[in-house]
């Protein structure tokens, strides 16, 4: 129980605003927004503080026994700060964006309340110290995302929400089964760099392999691995900030993060490679990457295309994990951050397009570059990043992935990365072509005001910021403050065991 108050504060910084917002009157817009931003600010400050303290060697930990042999454990380590930093920064942008996006919508109090709860759950996931705590926050995340998906209250969002619930509850149950099996085998342990299974290994390897598959299915539902991805494209019925949240900040990332935790800190990467379970993961990742990219090619709807793109991109993270060796790991983990930043930009842009011109289909996007230059520019940057054009962020992760594959002599993986990059360009480049080189479908509405942006400033500012971030993350990848550097530190820890 060291410095446990900071951990509580970290969770409360989004939980308390949520609670207060639920009780606020719908009309208290200013108060609500300032509460939200206050929460965001506190959270980012806390994460930064934890970051610095961790480098100085302070430990943060909170534990208490829920039931016999089952512990509720929160702790901070390098990996958790990576993800916590990502989600809290992106939460800031998403909040700003959502304030602009939902300006005229109903039930904003409910939306922002659950939104903050969602972030609380994600931060909880980050600082969970063992599988059971992780599971608690994982289920909590399911519960609080559900009302967000339902926000529009129409038939499509209802279908999406129910489908989401079915998938994730199934996943949760399977995950729980895996945890219980593991618990009955070796008891509950906290996450340790290098894994704890090897140290306590008793059961035969087949049993551990089966448990791994079960855990993978459980967590993979949220990470949207094929064939458990069905809910994600449907979930596009929700408003754009929610999609951004699902894809970049919370849900999908939570799944990927869970797999990272399981492979590195439960099984331990060396033990995992000894068991051969990395091949299972690699197979799943490759399938998902190819399937997602192929499906994305045939989507007419912009958000659907982005959704399938997410399915494939998130599996890069899994691919990176499955490559035994530091380089692959670096590629996977850094992609966790980079993909988040790029994907959130894309969704922000999609939201801006649809809220300004009601554009949802790709063939309506002709000539947007002229009417909405800033958003189009950001979109282009992010899309190019996704494809992996240097010097953008996506390039860095793919580069390390490729290096990792080469290190192990896995030419097949290199081929998959290349093929997927081709597919990525095949589904992104036509959009860019339409945006920049087609005649506009809609003329720019001339505003009476002297100076006016192409859309609401609250929509444009966040997407510009995240686009810039994705550029900077790529350009300054080798600097001391980049995500890459942090990931390198982390990987050094994992492999030094």
């Amino acid at each position: 129980m060291e410095n446990s108050l900071y951990l509580v504060a970290l969770l409360l910084s989004s939980f308390l605003p949520a609670l207060i917002i639920f009780f606020l009157d719908e009309k208290r817009v200013v108060l609500r927004n300032s509460l939200n931003l206050l929460g965001v600010g506190t959270k980012i400050a806390l994460v930064a503080f934890l970051f610095i303290s961790l480098i100085e060697g302070t430990h943060f930990r909170l534990s208490f026994e829920i039931a016999q042999g089952v512990e509720f454990l929160l702790k901070v380590d390098e990996l958790s700060l990576l993800f916590a930093g990502l989600s809290s920064v992106l939460w800031l942008f998403t909040t700003l964006y959502a304030i602009g996006y939902l300006k005229k919508s109903k039930n904003q109090g409910r939306f922002f309340g659950f939104f903050s709860l969602c972030v609380t759950a994600t931060i909880g996931l980050c600082v969970s110290g063992n599988l059971f705590t992780f599971f608690l926050f994982y289920e909590f995340l399911t519960l609080v995302t559900f009302p967000l998906l339902l926000h529009n209250q129409d038939e499509a969002s209802k279908q999406a929400a129910i489908s989401y619930l079915k998938y994730t509850l199934f996943g949760g149950a399977v995950f729980l089964l895996g945890i219980v099996l593991l618990h009955s085998l070796v008891g509950s342990h906290e996450f340790v760099s290098g894994g704890y299974l090897q140290a306590t290994q008793e059961g035969d390897s087949l049993y551990l392999q089966i448990i791994f598959v079960i855990l993978l299915i459980g967590v993979g539902v949220k990470a949207a691995i094929v064939p458990l991805h069905g809910w994600l494209p449907k979930a596009m019925a929700a408003p754009a900030p929610v999609s951004a949240l699902l894809h970049a900040v919370a849900v999908v990332k939570a799944g990927a993060f869970g797999i990272v935790r399981i492979v590195y800190e439960v099984y331990g990467i060396e033990f995992a490679s000894m068991l051969g379970i990395l091949y299972i993961l690699m197979f799943v990742a490759i399938m998902t990457i190819l399937y997602g990219s192929l499906k994305a090619l045939f989507q007419e709807d912009l958000k659907k295309r982005l959704a399938y793109s997410t399915i494939s991109q998130v599996s890069y993270i899994l691919l990176g994990i499955s490559l035994f060796g530091p380089l692959g790991t670096i590629g996977g983990l850094v992609h966790l951050v980079h993909q988040g930043v790029m994907k959130i930009t894309l969704f922000f842009c999609a939201g801006a397009f649809s809220s300004t011109y009601k554009i949802t289909k790709i063939d309506q996007m002709d000539g947007l570059g002229k009417t909405m230059p800033l958003a189009s520019l950001s979109f282009t940057l992010a899309a190019l990043g996704m494809i992996g054009i240097p010097p953008l962020a996506g390039f860095v992760s793919k580069w390390y992935l490729g290096l990792g594959a080469l290190e192990n002599g896995l030419w097949l993986v290199v081929g998959v990365i290349g093929l997927s990059a081709l597919l990525n360009s095949a589904y992104f480049l036509p959009i860019l072509y339409r945006i920049w080189f087609r005649a506009p479908l809609y003329e720019k509405q001339i505003s009476a005001k002297k100076f006016s942006l192409e859309a609401d400033p609250l929509l444009i500012f966040p997407l510009l910021a995240t686009a810039l971030l994705s550029l900077l993350l790529g350009v300054f990848a080798m600097s001391d403050l980049s995500a890459l550097e942090w990931v390198k530190q982390l990987v050094y820890l994992e492999y030094s065991q």
């Binding site: 208490f64 026994e65 829920i66 039931a67 016999q68 089952v70 509720f72 409910r110 059971f132 599971f135 608690l136 289920e139 519960l143 009302p147 339902l150 209250q153 129409d154 038939e155 209802k158 929400a161 129910i162 949760g172 729980l176 219980v180 009955s184």
Partner: protein, 468 residues
């Protein structure tokens, strides 16, 4: 602390009389009473934690001759839990019931509390018989409170069931007294032998109390009584009244019959398994919301009876965690469902389509209750099953093990059926009663449901407090 135990007895009695005599102030006194009662049980629990078991001889005569009360961790927790549920249900009733019904409600409630208190704390088996009768009559009277044809008929069935049940118990008490010459449970525990008379007494106790607890073949009275009573009372009946019978059965089984039991425990457990599935299937096909919840009670009570074959400390902890969880969750569920029924003026499940957009808090409460009833973490229901499963695993009771898992699946089926329906799009626009008081009603249910989930986080502390 010598005042605490007698006040656990005379405060309910005093308030029962006062609320009965001064009907004009019944509501005020009643609310005062439930708060006072929560405070008392809280003090009792705290003093048990600090001082260990509390003993009190009434009239100054030591047990075999006089009557004594004993409060240990488990009993104080049970009392605290029931006080909490009583409080919330009474606040609900204060808002929900007509003023004329409230006049009758509070004295009966005080008597119910008295019965529960005596049943939990007394160490004298005849004293507990009277407590059973007090609980029985007050519960029947409460379930007839609405005074319409349906509820009176249901109350009548309930009346006969509870009377037969306590009659059987009385017969067993008579047999035990004639055989061993004492009514004090500790003396009996020392003297008890495995002979014919004792076995017969045991069987009568088991049959009588399982009738009161609505174990599977003897459950016939429960669905009608619980579904036809008015809402706060359904919640009380499901959450507390049936549990009293179980508690008495448990304490007698644990202290007297555990050593001499040959087959009864097993039978009870297997009937429990049947109950889990029977109740679950009936709930799945129920057309009426309250009936569904009532059948779910039958199913959930089945889990409690699984205890009798395992009966390890871990299983006991599991059973009582489950009992707490079910009490809170079921009370919350009944209250929330009652709010919806009140607002819509219908009880048919199919009419609740799309209601989640109108009353999200109530649906959320029902969802939280469902989490506990299904046994998802971190609810109390989860840890109950966790302990049960571990216990069943260790004792290699595979039938129980699989029944526990499948039972959860079944509960998930019928609960999600309702939840998903409530998320559906509304059919035609209907007029809802949307008064200010609905908000309070919704919150009452929500608090109970939420506590059933959140208390799971403290299940280790709870099991330590039980001191098994």
């Amino acid at each position: 602390m010598s005042l605490i135990i007698p006040s656990l007895l005379f405060i309910p009695l005093l308030f029962a009389i006062l609320t009965y005599v001064f009907q004009k102030y019944a509501q005020m006194l009643g609310v005062l009473f439930v708060f006072l009662w929560l405070l008392l049980t809280l003090i009792a629990s705290i003093s048990v934690v600090y001082e260990g078991e509390l003993l009190y001889n009434f009239g100054g005569f030591a047990p075999p001759l006089g009557i004594s009360f004993r409060i240990d961790g488990l009993r104080s927790l049970m009392a605290l839990l029931s006080a909490f549920i009583l409080l919330i249900c009474s606040i609900y009733a204060r808002v929900y019931l007509l003023a004329s019904l409230q006049r009758d409600y509070f004295p009966l409630l005080a008597f119910l509390t008295l019965g529960i208190s005596v049943l939990f704390f007394s160490t004298d088996i005849f004293n507990q018989y009277i407590a059973l009768e007090i609980i029985g009559i007050s519960a029947v009277a409460l379930s007839a409170l609405q005074k319409d044809k349906k509820s009176i008929d249901a109350a009548l069935r309930y009346f006969f069931a509870t009377l037969i049940g306590s009659g059987f118990y009385l017969f067993a008490v008579a047999l035990l007294y004639l055989r061993y010459g004492t009514l004090f449970i500790d003396d009996l525990a020392l003297l008890i032998e495995n002979d014919f008379v004792t076995t017969i007494a045991f069987i009568f106790i088991v049959v009588g109390l399982s009738l009161k607890t609505a174990l599977f073949p003897l459950h016939y009275w429960l669905p009608s009584a619980h579904s036809n009573a008015t809402t706060p009372i359904s919640a009380l009946l499901s959450a507390l009244v049936v549990k009293t019978g179980f508690f008495l059965l448990f304490s007698l089984y644990g202290e007297l019959f555990w050593g001499i039991d040959l087959f009864v425990g097993k039978t009870l457990s297997y009937l429990g398994i049947v109950a889990i599935f029977y109740g679950g299937i009936q709930a799945f096909f129920a057309k009426d919301l309250k009936l569904m919840i009532a059948y779910s009670t039958i199913s959930q009570l089945g889990y409690l009876f699984l205890l009798f074959v395992l009966f390890s400390p871990m299983a006991i902890e599991g059973a009582f965690l489950g009992l707490f969880g079910h009490s809170l969750a079921k009370a919350g569920m009944f209250l929330s469902a009652g709010t919806l029924i009140y607002a819509l003026g219908t009880r048919k499940i199919s009419d609740f389509k799309g209601i989640s957009f109108v009353f999200p808090l109530s649906i959320f409460a029902i969802a939280l209750s469902s989490i506990t009833l299904i046994g998802l973490p971190p609810s109390l229901g989860f840890f109950a099953k966790w302990y049960y499963l571990q216990s069943a695993w260790m004792q290699q009771e595979w039938l129980l093990f699989s029944a526990l898992l499948l039972g959860s699946l079944l509960s998930a089926l019928y609960l999600f059926r309702f939840l998903i329906l409530s998320l559906g799009s509304q059919g035609e626009r209907r007029i809802f009663v949307k008064e200010k008081k609905i908000k309070i009603l919704e919150w009452c249910g929500f608090i109970l449901s939420l506590s059933s989930v959140l208390l799971g986080m403290f299940s280790y502390a709870l099991t330590k407090m039980m001191g098994i």
